[in-house]
Each structure stands twice: as structure tokens, then as C-alpha cells.
Symmetry: D3
């Protein structure tokens, strides 16, 4: 008894639908996959209404919407949702929301009464708009996978960054130590330390007295005379990072490196970071960094593109091949 359906698929060819929030990343994915991007209009009317029109039918296609949800967050998110609905109404066979940086993923629990869990709202919205699957990278907590009712791929750029550090930096460092700027990142920092074979240190913040605003910072672990690699998942305003670097200096650190996944860079974060005594910044392109900001760093910044990773996962998802084996898992 032999089935003759081997390797067949429930949908037609891949269609790559580029959102307007991360056009460069979409372009890199298209190039990697040797596909062209779908033609479409994305228009913001004077009344602030977004409008989308496909230039070609996606009926029966296996569509990947590539749209990150960095600033302007609400507009990028709404564009993602309208895209999903438009593609669903045009009878796409399967729609995957590829969202390199998933907005609101830090609003993932009620750590005080009477506040939202906006991350769950966002996953609900993505589903109601019509996504069949999703892909994202390094959400604040892995539990966001459990917010989705649809299956998806939660990926990480951790391996990409570790690989870069191992191949380009590690040999030149003196007594390196990995340092987390927040105890909530302690476990992930341990993974970096283990992979780079370094010890580990943490910055502990504690409120001072009854004044909930004043905080005392302490370094737990030994960083004196060492090259410090600060690791984190994102840099938002860069406030904690600045404090941590200053503290590291006070505690006798040698050179300081900074590695993180999502360059959110709110407010004047880029200017602030560029002014700090950092030897090198390693990050990714899950969030596009404006040219002007990039220029501030010169060659002190290295951007590891996630395009190869997303492309490999897209082609595996399309062909029904294992994604786990990408990571030797």
C-alpha cells in the first residue's frame, strides 16, 4: 500500500507581500528566495485612513506578509491587519504574518491591577484579521506563543548574534564577562555566557526607601578589569543601558560591548547610545534604523540581518520541511 501524495501542498506558489514598515528586509528576503515582491498600493488618505489594493490576484497562493510593527506602531499594526484581511478576502490559500518585531510584547501580563495585556489583544487582532500562521523573532517572553490560537514559528536571532561575536570579537577580548542589565534577563544572559564560555554578572535595581522613583544599582558578579558584553533583548529609550554602562565603568570594567536583538531606539536613544563609551554595538534589522541614526555610530555598529533566517523558515514552512533542524534541534 503506497500513497502517491508525497510532498504535495495545500496551496500554490509563495507570494511575498511587503508591508511599508520594513521594505529593506522584505527586499532581502525576496532576493534570498529569488522571488519578486507582490505589487500593491498602500495609501494613507488625508483622513488618516489606510487603503490597500493588490495589483494581482493571490487566489490560492501561500502568502507571507512581511511587516514589522515598530514606530509608528499603531499605523504599522493597522496596515498589517488590513493587509491580512485584504489577502483573505482575495482568497489566498494560506496567509502567514511575518512580524520580525511584534509590538506590545512587553505588555504580556497584569503586573499591577487594572491594566491591559495588550500583547494578547494584538495576537487576537492578527487572528481575527485572517492570519493562518505567524512568524516573529525574540518576543519579550516566549509565552506569547501561548497567546496565539494559530500555530506559528517563534524564532530567535540569538544564534546569529552569538555566531557573530564568536567569529569576530571573542578572540580579541580580555577576560570577557556577560552582563545583564535586568534580573528578568538573567536566564537568557546565562545562555549567552554559556555559549561564549564566559562568567556572568547582573545589574540589580532596588528602590531606595519609600520613594518609589529612586533606585539603587548594584553589580552582582565580578567585572573588574574585564571586557563586558552587555546583552539584552531590545533597546528602547536606552535609559537602563546608559546606567549600566556608567556603573560598569565605576566598577572597573575594561571595554564595553552591547548586543541586543531589537533596535527600537525610541526618543533620542540613538544619540544617547552613540555618545556612550561603547566599543561595539551588535544588533539586527528586525526594526529598521534610520540612516541618520546609523550615521551616528559609524563603524561601531554591526547589524546582523535576520533575512537569511526568515527566508529559510519561509521556504521550509512552504515546503513542509522541518524548521527545527535549522538549529540542529
Amino acid at each position: 500500500m503506497n500513497s502517491h501524495t508525497h510532498e504535495m501542498k495545500a496551496y500554490g506558489d509563495i507570494a511575498l507581500f511587503p508591508g511599508t514598515a520594513s521594505p529593506e528586509l522584505a527586499g532581502k528576503i525576496a532576493k534570498y528566495l529569488n522571488k519578486r515582491l507582490c505589487d500593491r498600493d498602500v495609501i494613507l488618505f488625508p483622513n488618516d485612513n489606510l487603503f490597500i489594493k493588490l495589483h494581482e490576484s493571490v487566489r490560492g497562493k501561500d502568502v507571507y506578509v512581511i511587516q514589522t510593527t515598530s514606530r509608528p506602531v499603531q499605523q504599522n499594526l493597522m496596515e498589517l491587519l488590513i493587509s491580512l484581511q485584504t489577502l483573505r478576502l482575495d482568497s489566498a490559500a494560506r496567509i502567514t504574518a511575518v512580524v520580525p518585531y511584534l509590538c506590545y510584547s512587553r505588555s504580556d501580563k497584569k503586573d499591577q491591577p487594572r491594566v491591559p495585556i495588550t500583547s494578547r489583544l494584538v495576537t487576537d487582532m492578527i487572528e481575527v484579521a485572517g492570519a493562518d500562521r505567524y512568524m516573529t523573532l525574540d518576543p519579550h517572553a516566549g509565552q506569547v506563543q501561548g497567546f496565539f490560537s494559530i500555530p506559528g514559528d517563534v524564532l530567535t536571532a540569538y544564534h546569529t548574534i552569538v555566531e557573530y561575536i564568536k567569529e569576530n570579537l571573542l578572540d580579541n577580548l580580555t577576560d570577557p564577562v556577560v552582563m545583564a542589565v535586568d534580573l528578568g534577563f538573567a536566564k537568557k544572559a546565562r545562555n549567552y555566557a554559556e555559549a561564549l564560555n564566559t562568567p556572568i554578572a547582573f545589574v540589580e535595581k532596588r528602590r531606595v526607601g519609600n520613594d518609589s522613583k529612586a533606585e539603587a544599582l548594584t553589580v552582582i558578579g565580578d567585572i573588574k578589569g574585564r571586557d563586558v558584553i552587555i546583552v539584552d533583548d531590545e533597546v528602547d529609550t536606552g535609559g537602563s543601558i546608559s546606567q549600566a554602562i556608567k556603573l560598569a565603568r565605576e566598577e572597573g570594567a575594561r571595554n564595553v560591548y552591547l548586543a541586543f536583538i531589537h533596535p527600537v531606539f525610541s526618543s533620542n536613544a540613538a544619540t544617547r547610545l552613540a555618545s556612550l563609551d561603547l566599543t561595539e554595538i551588535i544588533t539586527t534589522d528586525t526594526v529598521p534604523i534610520p540612516e541618520a541614526s546609523l550615521a551616528l555610530f559609524g563603524d561601531r555598529i554591526h547589524i546582523c540581518s535576520v533575512a537569511p533566517l526568515l527566508s529559510e523558515v519561509i521556504i521550509r514552512a512552504h515546503e513542509g520541511r522541518s524548521v527545527g533542524e535549522l538549529f540542529d534541534e
Copy 2:
């Protein structure tokens, strides 16, 4: 056999939750109902993330979120949705989204292939965020009621505007005629004409030749020497209105009045309208008009507040009394 449950309710007292998009309207409703507005924080963080925190519990309450969804559309909509989720997670007994102007209601059908029905997406989002009911005024088409799976009240400011015209303008007009600027508004214009006991006229637009951009305008019906009351449901950029007024002048109209529900006023609409030869503009406060724009009109604009109408419907919804009887229906 006698039931002793007369006039009981499934929830506690009314709570009025004011969004940031229409604070004045919320204030008027609170005043009309002699209730105070809920205390809450609505914060837009530097990373463009919205955050909401209630200052008091709404557990078991009958909550009304008052938030219009005019510009900035995406932000006001997202604020509405996060508010709904926050209130739901805080165990409100019933939550009603009161949205005087419901965004994207013109994107209510696929009038060409491969476009969204964003209005349905918006109703889905409002439901998934946690609304039990909704209230809105004069959506582009009444069919939007059928987009919602939850019950709600689709109200109209039509009576309010007709009443104002009858009591304040009509006696002073010479041979008044109601004119629609678009054939899609013909039926509603007829209702105005019938209520005001005037004849009716329409502007017909037609494409010229094969050039889809060029349009020829014609007035169907008799407006010569008459006072013309142009009626519409909203003024967006004001382009069609401007054309219609110019055409009316060419066709020999006497004075021109303009009545519409939603002062969306995109782009430079206010400036454009203010420069036209309009005797009086009648509209409502479903969308707040900036002070600067208002100043352009001087006393040539009259705003009929929808606060009394919304307040009456809220109290009736809360007490389980008929809303229809408000309109002698």
C-alpha cells in the same frame, strides 16, 4: 403567579470611561447624566506604545467607553481597543463602546477586486477586544449594523439637524431646495427634503471619455433662484462640496447652506470650506473641531451636540427602557 424581579439589572451602576479623542463630548454626557467620569491614565510612551491604567475598579459595573475614532485614526482606534480589553480584564459586567464617528465606515464593500472591507475588520476588532455592545451615529451605510455580531444602537443625528433647520432657518429661506452632492446620498437627501417640505436636486458626476480622471458635473433638478441646502453625511477633504457649491452658483442658486453629520475635516478642509460662499454650516460634535478651525467660520457654523441623544440612549440602555420611543417609533 407574580415575578418579583421587575426592573432589576444584570450589572451595577453606570461608569463613564472617557477616551482621549473626544473629551468635551464625554464631559457633556457626564454632565447630562449627572455622573462623574472615571479616573484613568492614558499614556503614549516614547516607543509609541499606548498604555492605560484605571484608577478605580470597574468590577461589576455597566461601563460606557466614549471614544470617537477621527484623526489620528489608528491611535484613537487602538486606544479604544486597549480600553475595552482593560475593562474586560478588570471584570466589568457589561461594556459598551460608544463611538460617535466610526472610522473606516466608508470601506464597507469591495467595489473593486482585491481591496479590503476595513469597516468589517474594525467591527471584528471591537468585538474581539471585549465590547458587549456598541453605539454609533450615522455610519456611511446602515448595513454596518450587520457587520457586528453584538447588538448595539445605530443612532442618527438627522432628527437633530432637521429640528435645528426647521426652528432656526427654514422660515427665512426663499424657495428652498435640498441638494445631494452624490447620487449615493439621493435617498437620504429625499428624507431631508420630505422633512423640510422642499423639492430635491442632485449633482451627477460622470466620467468624460476614456479618461477616468476627468469628470463632468450636472445638476439634476431645479435650483435656479432658490436657497440651496446641501446635505451629506460627512465632510472629509471638502472637495466634492466645493465643486457642488461652485456648480450651484453657476446654475443660479441663491444662498447656499451646508448640513452634514461628521466634520471629519481632513487636509485643509476647514480653510477651504471657510473660503466658500456659504451662508451657514450645520454639523455636530461627533468629531471634535479644533479651535483654530472653528475660528475660521466665526458665527457661520452651528454645532448641534449629540451629547443629549447619546446620554438618553445610555440611560435607557442601562435601565432597560426602549430607545425607539426617543424617536416616536
Copy 3:
């Protein structure tokens, strides 16, 4: 990197399941597609229970249920629903409800308090019974697309009718004018007028005095001495049409033609229409017209079949090709 899944489908071959309400249309579609119709029993038991039994398995098939929902409306609708469930329980891979005339589509909004939106109920029922997709023609309002949560194709026979008029009638008409019998149809009538390059006219109805039953009719626009093409979406009892024709005659119209999509023909509509001074009636086969009724019109009626249109859309939906390109869109 090259995907080898081009043009694959999520289901097996097409299966055409004919309901009992429109057997001729189903037959024409089968012939056009060169497919046979599924064998099945549809039995109405003495207790008024409908029963359906498939004679062959549809497991894995791409099934199209062809069933219009004209009179007897409730029975035809229930047959459609039971068919959908039967096919779903028999493990069809995809089921499309092809409903040329979608019943209750005029009950699409609450235009007075305390009434249903039966059209939304009908779409909910079609979904809960198991349809994955739907196709229909010319619903009363395009917004019904937003009532469905499933994707579908809302088609129009407008092009078919316009094409017929252009090729067979237009050259012989004297100063033709398109006339709508209701202001709610004004915009669609404009499309006909634009396509046929004619002016346009409307019948306006208005209540007289306080008596809500008495109506005054007026023609807006110029029809005197012209050949009048009355256009509408359906003819139900034919009451408004009769009034409009009589009025047209009074206003000096030359010959009168009547074009509409759905020949619902309730009550004695066929007899009434046949007795009117109409030169030609153009309609479609979305609703089957009984032989006896057809005979009343002799060669004064022309039926444009929608079978080619539906067939082309079915084959495109099955093969994942664009439907929009059928209309040069």
C-alpha cells in the same frame, strides 16, 4: 531556491452538487464546464422534513452547491443548508455555496426599531452549515459581503445586461434615457447610463400629508419623447415598476424597456408585467421563471444566462486564478 509546488491545489476535482431550486442553471454550468452533476436524492417527506442522500462520496472534492433561494424561500434555503452539512460530514475538502439569488438580501439593516437583519442571519446560517466560500450575484447592497466571515465572490450580471443592450437594442433607440424607479438605485442607474452613454432620470416617491400610505410620484430629469430604459436590481410584485411605467407614459415617454437582474416575480407580477406597455424586458436566470409565466411575454422577454459567468468563476476559483481579470479589473 525554487519551489516545486506551482499550481497545486488543496483539494481534489470539482464536484457540482445541484440543488432542486435551479436545475436548469446547474445543467448549463455543468455543460459549460464539461462536468457531470453529482447524483443525489433530495426528498421532502410527508412530515415536511427534507432529506438528502449523496449517491457517491465527495471526500476530498472541491464541491460547488448550486442552489438559488427564490420561492419557496424557506424550503430552498433549508435544502441549501442541509446540503452543505451533508457534504461537510462527508468530508468534502472545500465547499462553495453558489447562490445566484440570495434571499432576504433586502433585509440588510434596521431602518426602523425592533426589526431583524435577516440577511445577516442567512449568512450566519450558511456559515454554520459548513460553507467555506460563497458566490452570489447582485445582492441588494454590496455590504452583504461584510456580513460573511468567509471569503467569497460577489458577482454582478450588470456587464452581461449592458452588453446585451449595447449589441441588440441601443442602435435602434431614439434619444434613450436610463431611469431608476427608486432613489436608492440612483447610483447604480448612473452606471448603466454611463455605460450606455445616455442621460439619466429618477422617479421620486414622497409621502403626501400625514397619511403615510399616500405617495406622490415625480419624475426628476427629462424623458419626454425619449425611449426609456428602466433599470432595477429585481422585480418582486412589480408594483413600483407599474407605477413608473404609467408615470413615464404620462410624462411623454416614447417606448419603455425594462432591465433587471432577478426575476423574483411574486404574486401576479408576471401577469401584471405582461399587461404593461413594455417593448422589451431584459433579465437573467438567477431565479427560474415558470414556463407559464414565460409564455405570457412571448418574444418580449430576453433572458441573459448567468451560467457562463458562474462557470468561469468556478473554474478560476478551483484553479486559483484571478476572477477580477474576467472583468478587465
Copy 4:
């Protein structure tokens, strides 16, 4: 610690909404509960479209729709569904579908391939239309409770019928025996026999040879010289009953009585039953029997009304009191 919410309800007063299928039963329930019936229009338009309009608001009410689903089945069912939606859209607080005879309840499993489970379709439709709860009597199989996702009360008129027989007939019977006309009713027949303290007998049907149409009937159990009480859940066309009575006579039965819940009476069932040698028929008013049919039986029929039972359950459901205690359970 003491809660002061004792005996409060989640809704306002009871509203009884009468469908058109069982007006007498609705009237009896209203009388029993000392309530008036809601005013409403139920109109069947010439195009076979049903339309419902409430004359008064039910906002916040605890509404009971009383509508049986006997012939015309599709129309009565659709009227029930439209009623439910209308009441939901009018913001009723809780809606209970009271369906004394639930149509299609015999289509409750696939006993052959490629057939529907229409009973599940019906329960899905009732839920999607907006019922919060349901009540019904003696469905073909109790498992239909599991088809509903909403809670409800599946009641039985069994006790009512047993009580009637015990008080009015049993003393006058000679060696009574309960007989089931179908083995599928054997277990329920045993309950009747146990309650009436009689032995039991069954009619067994078996196909003869390879001809699936020919059936041989046998009585299993002793009925010779005894008064036979045939019991069943419904009488449809009366075919099986007629065969069973004829067979009973051949086997030497004395007088024959017939007791069943639902007088469906399809086809010429009433005429057929009236012509049989039956001493008395006991049934209920879950399905209204036309006057003309009733007249055929004279005083040989007794109708046990289910109105008191339904009324008691309605008032208990409304007041949150136990329904089970009605049956000493």
C-alpha cells in the same frame, strides 16, 4: 460575612413572545403565568419572505419565544430563528427558545453514509440566531441535549401521560400490557410498563429474504386476551401504528389504546388513525391538531396539555429555582 444579593436576577421581567405555529399553547402559558403575550407582527410577504416587528421594546427582558416546529416545518423554523435574532438585536437580556416539538430530531445520527445530521444543524441554527437557552419536550433521543452548546431544559410529557392513564383508564383495563411498535422504543416502553405495573411486549420488524422492502412483523411477548396500550413518542404518517394494531388484533388482543407525545399527523394520518379499532388515543398539544382532524376522533382522543409543565419551568427558570424538583428528582 453576608451577601445581600439573594434572589436577584440578571434580567428584567418575563416577556412571552408567541410564534404563529402554536398560538393556543402560547395563550395557555400566558394564562397560567398571568402574563400577557407580546404584541408583534409576523408577516409573510408575497415573495415568501418572513418579516417580524416587535410592537414594544424587550430591552433587558427575560424573553421566552414559544414556537413549535411542526408543519410547515421550514417556515415555522425560520420564523423561530428570525424572532430570536430580532429579540437579540433589540437587546433582550436573555432569550429562551421554547420549542415544544423540535423538528428534525429523528435525523440525529448518520445511520448510513452520506446523509445529514439535520438535528445538529437545527441546534446550531438556533444558537447562531441568538438563543441563550432552550426548552423542548421528548426529542427522539435524549442525546440531542449534547448537540446544543447552550444550556437548556429537555422535558418530558411522559409523567403527564402516565398520570392520566393511571387516574382515568387503568382501573377499567383487563390484564393490561404495554406494547412498543419498534424495538428502538423498547427501553422507554419498559418505563411505561413499570409505571403502570404491566408486562411488556414488542413488535419486531425484520426484512424478508433479499428484498429490502418486504418486512415480517412478529409480536414478542404475550398480548392474547389482554388490553394493549401501544406507546410511542410520535405519530407521523401512522403507518407503523396501523400495522401494529392489525397485528395485535390477529394475535388476540382485547381493546387497544394508543399513547404518544407528539401528534405530528402527516399525510392522512388522522383519517387513518380514526378508522382504526382504537378505544382511546392519549396525546399532547406539543403540535396543534387541526379542528377538522380532531372532529374525526370525537371523544376517543384525549389531549394532555403541556402548558402547565412549560409554565412551571419558565417561572422556575426565570426565578432561578430548581426545575428538577418538579419531578421529585
Copy 5:
């Protein structure tokens, strides 16, 4: 017009995922289908938490989870559910729960107030965990099909058992009679009797006096001097069977045979059955019988494997071929 999609499928190859409850059956199916079983870990941690890990990706596969839900019921059920979710999250294209014995299927209606319908709860859980389809054999009542919202195949081992009896036993029996131990099984027993061309008998149980515990048993029908084939759907504790056999002996039965589908064998059922005067037991492997229990019966038990039946249905479901034709239906 010719479609080139003939015989394509919506998924990749078959994957057989074996649960731990019925490994032998899974093995037989794999052998029949000439497929290997998926590698996976199923671990029960010391804290009683079940954990599952797939050793290979099932992305895009057509997966069949083979897991019966006999004792330990809760653990086997939970393992099934976790397996379904794991496979869904790993992006299987289609998942079928193959549950030879579906637990709780006797809890399928509320036959008294304030009890659960656990069978519906189980079907809800299977769906929420992620099954797209299901297969099961001989649930207590066929109506359980209506509990599922997903399509599936409810199969029966009835033909398998009848075939075995016809080919191996029937010729050697003396005046055989089929006997049901419960009136609720009367109709199914009739099918056995018809297929084996024997008469039929029933055991009737009736409560004695007011003591609800005491029961009187009677045989209805003639078994004296006959070989009796007792038929049932499952043997749980074996209590009713023991009583029935004892009664049969008292009533003069010759040899007694016992045929049933599910060998649930609770408590000391195996020991009890083995001690009874039974000539042969015929059952299936929907529930695995422990070696020690099997040994008690020696060659007095015959197990008809359902593996060929399930295998044939799996391959037909996978290839989109008719399952009904397996049964000449």
C-alpha cells in the same frame, strides 16, 4: 475545459503517531499500511505531568494519532489531547484523532437532573486540542457524531464480528438465538439476529416494589434448548452479563456464546467472565486486554482485530476515496 488538479491532496504523506494506550493496535495498523510509526517521547514526570516530544517534524503531514481511551482513562485522554496540540503547534497539515474506544460515550444525555454530558465535554476537548477529524468505533449511541463539530468517521466492528460468527461458529450451533441483556440494545440485537438469521430474545430488568436497588429479571422470547448468542456493545464490570448467563441457564439455554465490541473489563470482570459457563467469547482489540487476563480464557476467547478496518479507512481518508464503499454502502 479541463481541470488538471485530479487526485491532489491538501497535505503531505501520512504520519502515524502512536499513543501509549494501544501500542499493539498502532503496530498492526502501521504494518497493514506498510508505514513506520513516528518516533516520539511520552513521559510521565514524577509530578504526574505528561510530556510529549516529537523526534521528527510533522510539518505539512497528514497525521493520525492512534490512542484508545480505556483505563487509565484520564491519563490516556490527556495524552491524546496533548498529542493533538503538540502536532498542531508543529504545523501538521491535518490531524485525525483515531480513538478506537471513545471514553465516556455512555454519559451522552442527562437522564436525571444535575448530571454532566461528559461525552460532549470529551468531544469539545478533542476539538479544542486541535483535531481536524476523528475516527472511532461503536460509541454507545450513534448520536455522538452530532456532538462533534468536526467531520469524522464513526465505524463499527459489527460486520467483523458477524462475519467471524458466520464463518466459524454458526454451522455448529443448535437452534441459535440472539439475546440482548438490556432493552436499550434491542434494536442492535435485532440487526445481529437478522444477519445471523436467528430469532431474538431480551432480558428485561424491572425494579421490585419501592426498593430501587432490587431488580427482577425476565427473559422475553424463547431460549429453551437453544444455543444463545448474547450480544452487547461493551463489557464493563460484567455484572449484567453474569446475571443474564445465570438466567439463561435457569431458562434452559443450551450453550452460551458472548459477542461484544469493547472489552473494557473493569474491576475483576475478566476473572468473573472466565469463571462463567461460556462456550466462547468474541470481541475486538479496541481496548487492549492484559496478557494475564487473556490467559484466564485460554482458547475460549477470539479477538477480531479492528486494525484492517482502521487501516482501510485511514488510507481512504488520506487519498480522498469513499469509506462507505468498504461496507458496500
Copy 6:
């Protein structure tokens, strides 16, 4: 305008439904609230089927099911689910699942490919069974709130334990330090340290070489000569705790205390813990500790009951009062 509905509720009185997993805790809650527990049967039949029967109706009640989900996990969970369904089918007005220890909450993300997120499955099951709300304490990660679609109260016994330590232990400790046994608990440990005004230390585990089984443990932070308070959220087998205590001793700790929320105590955890050099263990009654285990600890264990906390939240939830104010939030 004044609403007279102040403080009304959508349901009747509180009903406390005790599961069998935590009868003592249920008893304490009943006592605190001065309510009696509902009478019900919970039966485990020989075939391993659970059965529940309420002795009294809960129609219209506000029911709280108190059932923890410790070992036997699958049985306790299934009992919870069947209870929820039974109460829903009996028409309870609102049902809250009170689950002090929520099973599988550590399986909350896919930290490797091809594994389940069982915690989300559990929340789905609780919802599908019929819970309207839930309450639980200290799940492994707060994000589990986002797994639920229903609102609920995620509580913590952290304040209770901190309060106990402050009032009973802290004054007698020498240079106390809080220590986390896992970096994943670092942030919560910081909260304990801040509340108790102590420094903090962590145990870091790291894999040794390529052997994934061998782990090296290090203490980060200063514990020499100090009283160490080890904090964690649960003790399962006690393996990590044992290692940590041994390590603490090696590093020169003075006395060691152990505080944690959930005494899961799998395997021989109680025996193992009792044999360790621990001065005092502080835990709660979210999981009942068997008498025999308790006896092992003598007076070295202190159990802070969560009954007062749960009771206060239940009464607030019932009366629609703020729960947050319990914690001065």
C-alpha cells in the same frame, strides 16, 4: 438623573462547590465566608469514569468550584472540567473555577521544537468546559493570564509569606540573604529581598563540556556566615533545592530557611526535604500535604493558608468590589 440599580448583581447567591482534591481548603473558605458547601456526589466508577451529581439545583447561582490540580493531576483536572460542565448544564448564572495550584503552568512555552504548550491547553479546556471566570495563585509565569480568554484573578501568596517571615522570623536572623535556586526566579527573588530588606544571591547552573547532563553550580553573591532564605515558587521533586542547600553549606551559609508557594512534593520530595539541614520551611495550602508527609517535618514547617485571601477575593468578585484594594493597589 439618577440610576436606581446601584449594587445589583447579575446572579443569585454564592454557591461553593467543593472538588475532592482540596477539601480542607474548601472547608476553610466556607467557614470564612460563613456559607455551607454544596452537597454533591463525585464518584469514580470501576471503569475509571468520573461521575458528578449535584444534590441541589444551582440555577441562577454564582458558583465557585474549588479544586486544586495537584496529583493525581489528570483526575483532578478532569473532575474540575466535569464539574464546570455539570454546573453550566444546570444553568448556573456564573461559574468561577478556583484553582489554587494550576497544573502544567510550567509548560507555558516551546523552549525546544516539537513540544506542547500544555498550559494553554489547560486554559482552553477550562473555558470549553464552561468557566466564566477563574482564580489561581502564583502560576509559573504571569503570562498565563494571557492564555485565558475569560477574565480572572491571578493572585499571589507572596504577600502572605513575606508577612509571616517579617513577623515571625526576620528579627532572629543574622545577616539574612535571599537566594534564588534558579536564574529564572531572579526577578521574583529580588522582590522578596527588597521586601525583607536583604541582599540577594543566586545559584547559577551551567552545563559542563559537551555532556548535557553534567552541570556545574556556582553561587553568585555573598552568603558566607549569613542566614540564607531560599525562595522559589514551588517544590516538585526537591532536587534543585537539595543541591542548593548543599552548595550553601559548602559556601559557608549559617542557617538555611526555605520559602515557596506550592508544596507539590512529587516522588520522595517530603522525605528528602525533611532530611536536609533546614531550620524552617514556609509554604501554603494550595496543594494539600498528606498527614504522613507533614509528620516528617514536625514543627519545622509552617503552612500559611490561602483561604482568607481566596475568600476575600470571592466575596469581592461576588459583590462587584475591587480586588486590587486588598493589596493597597
